[in-house]
Amino acid sequence: MDLTLSPAEEAFRDELRGWLEANHPGREPAGDDAAFEFRRVWQRKLHDAGWAGLSWPEEYGGRGATLVEQAIFNEEMVRARTPSVANVLGLAMGGPTVIAHGTEEQRKRFLPAILSAEEIWCQGFSEPGAGSDLASLKTRAVRDGDEWVVTGQKVWTTFAHHAKWCMMVARTDPEAAKHKGLTYFLMDMEQDAVQVRPLRQITGESEFNELFIEEARVPKENIVGREGEGWAVAITTLMHERATLAFGLQVSVQIALRELIETAGNARGLNGAVASEDPVIRQRLAQLLIESEVLRLNAYRGLSAIMRGGVPGPEGSLGKWHWSEVNQSLTELAMEIAGPRAMLSASDGNWSYRFLRARANSIEGGTTEILKNIVAERVLGLPRMR
């Protein structure tokens, strides 16, 4: 065991820390479009300084950073409380999928614009009838010369209204077995055949969308992997979603918890006393400190396991599930600390919004129930339920 950084890693951290001090963009503005533009500018700034696509190979505009450097990067982002970047899905999922399964032409075509936030990516996997049982999806793609013609409906498509490219899985062989007849496409969102309809969430905002696809055209060079092998490619995307995003997620929990502790120090609890001095609140804040430490340590353990053996250990399957529980209990506690203000939408620190938004955490990116199935079957070796 050695949890200290090497001199090279320390140098990397110090360089980043210095850069962040000088270049922090400040607080995100309100309003969906303004916020998105702000994130785009921020990502470009990161990219120009060589901090975007940290883990990607240098030949594709990345930095070829080690896993430890990526971890340091994520931790420093927390320390500095930086805002999100614009092309989250392109950076975390689309790019790594193209690097893993794409052709050389695809890498050259798509990767630079992901890094620079010039082309935003979204993900078209889920459908109204295919959620947890993703492989039952029905969107069809039919070959027409050098193109594929796609028809169907996708749902929960984050950032679709900003996106240029959609990573989309469609059924190309309806005769084949469920998992076998799927193909992974990169679909241009800028065509009339693709209609984006925002889905209003319980928070009132529209972060997700529905896609109505009516004979959209996708050139055959935009297939990632081979025809009929879309499931394996999609799994790569999902693994990256759970692994890469998970590392960032534990970081976001730590930021939120630090803010909540501050909030509790200023809030009035029972009989006018300071909320953070209430023994029950203290217990629950301490438990959250412990659980967020578990999230961080599991992420590091997973990292070490990958460095040793190339695959994440059992703790790797737990991150997203555990994070959603921690983030939900954190925001629930925030509502208790808010007292009567828990009834109001506008609260200090945006806690009311975060409380509602957290309800999606145990659904998005794999429901907790599906993740438990994965742990039970693949890690513990219990018999499949089906």
């Binding site: 065991m1 050695d2 120090g265 301490a286 412990i290 578990v294 070490s304 438990k372 199935n373 018999p383």
Partner: protein, 360 residues
């Protein structure tokens, strides 16, 4: 940055797993659980030959001069095997002497402890103690002798000396052979760790001398060891539950194919792995990051204390009726996890410390 064991630590882990599996099969644990002392001198000598009593004793006192990570590696395997040895209690006393013993005390005891020729234990709970393990009202008599009662002292019946905690963080060493010391067995919920009542009547006591910080670090190490035991206990209980869920069929299917059962098992993994991450981190921090060590130790103890009990209780539920029988081994694990959760500060007390140390 490497969150994993070194080759040497891996070797200690393998040796511990194999040795304990070979020497402490379930039937042996069960037999020792029925006895008052809980181990034989031959069994202790075998443990001593492995060098385990001297893990943290400096090499010039015949110890191995290793650190907390190595202690935690062994403690986890001790929990996994549920071996009823006095290794934990004597290591706790050794930690106190290393941290705060006088020159004479260290000279007299450390070598003998490392060689397995002597054993100590740590007595913290006053007879009417509250929840705080660091609170004692014990004051020495005017001439320095001690008159007091301590409860739930592990392995006191087979120890050569006791480290006694008192008011204002003071500690004393008392020899078990002193005429003012009376030790009687208590009936413990966990029969694999023997607890005793220690009554002192004007017993001769030598004060320890170390600084409060060194003593606090020794306690943090003790609780991290208990947390590590609970990792092993939880791991074993989870394995038992998973095996049972694969084998046991009801309604013509293995019960592990039902999500009500399989998700319960997944939850066990979440809690065992979380405990493990915290324990390993705490052990490392206690050796290398003095500022983080005590907070990390309390985090590990609070989390693994809760998790150990929940995982073993959940494993019992998976087993159904058979898990409730004395004949099945599972209850020993549940009892150890439960006792560990309450030893040296329960989860609530340690969470409160975490809050303190976080500036809350």
């Amino acid at each position: 940055m490497n969150f994993g064991f070194t080759d040497d630590q891996q070797a200690i882990k393998r040796t511990a797993r194999e040795f304990l599996k070979e020497r402490y099969p379930a039937a042996t644990v069960r037999r020792l659980a029925e006895e008052e002392r809980g181990f034989t001198e031959e069994q202790w000598q075998e443990v001593a030959e492995l060098g385990w009593p001297g893990v943290i004793v400096p090499e010039d006192s015949d110890g191995l001069g290793l650190g907390t990570v190595e202690l935690v590696v062994i403690a986890e395997e001790m929990g996994y095997a549920l071996a009823p040895t006095p290794w934990f209690s004597t290591t706790a006393a050794t930690l106190m002497l290393v941290a705060a013993g006088t020159e004479a005390q260290r000279e007299r005891w450390l070598g003998a402890l490392a060689r397995g020729e002597a054993r100590g234990t740590l007595a913290v709970w006053d007879e009417h103690a509250g929840w705080a393990p660091d609170h004692s009202e014990l004051e020495p008599d005017a001439d320095g002798k001690l008159t007091a009662t301590k409860i739930a002292v592990p392995d006191a019946g087979s120890a050569d000396f006791l480290i006694i905690s008192g008011a204002d963080g003071r500690h004393w060493l008392i020899e078990a052979s002193d005429s003012g010391v009376r030790i009687s067995p208590e009936e413990a919920i966990d029969p694999t760790r023997k607890l005793f009542r220690v009554e002192l009547s004007r017993a001769a006591a030598e004060p320890l001398q170390g600084a409060g910080e060194a003593i606090a670090r020794a306690y943090a190490t003790v609780v991290t060891m208990l947390a590590a035991e609970n990792v092993g206990v939880g791991q074993r209980a989870m394995e038992m539950a998973v095996t049972y869920a694969k084998d046991r069929a009801q309604f013509d299917r293995p019960i592990g194919s039902y999500q009500a059962v399989s998700h319960r098992c997944a939850q066990m993994l979440l809690e065992v792995e979380g405990s493990r991450s915290l324990c390993y981190w705490a052990a490392w921090a206690l050796d290398h990051e003095p500022d983080t060590g005590p907070r990390a130790g309390s985090m590990a103890k609070a989390y693994a204390g809760d998790a150990g009990f929940r995982v073993t209780a959940s494993a019992l539920q998976v087993h159904g009726g058979i898990g409730f029988t004395y004949e099945h081994d599972l209850h020993f694990f549940l009892k150890r996890a439960h006792a560990n959760a309450h030893a040296f500060g329960d989860s609530r007390w340690h969470r409160d410390r975490v809050a303190d140390l976080a500036g809350l």
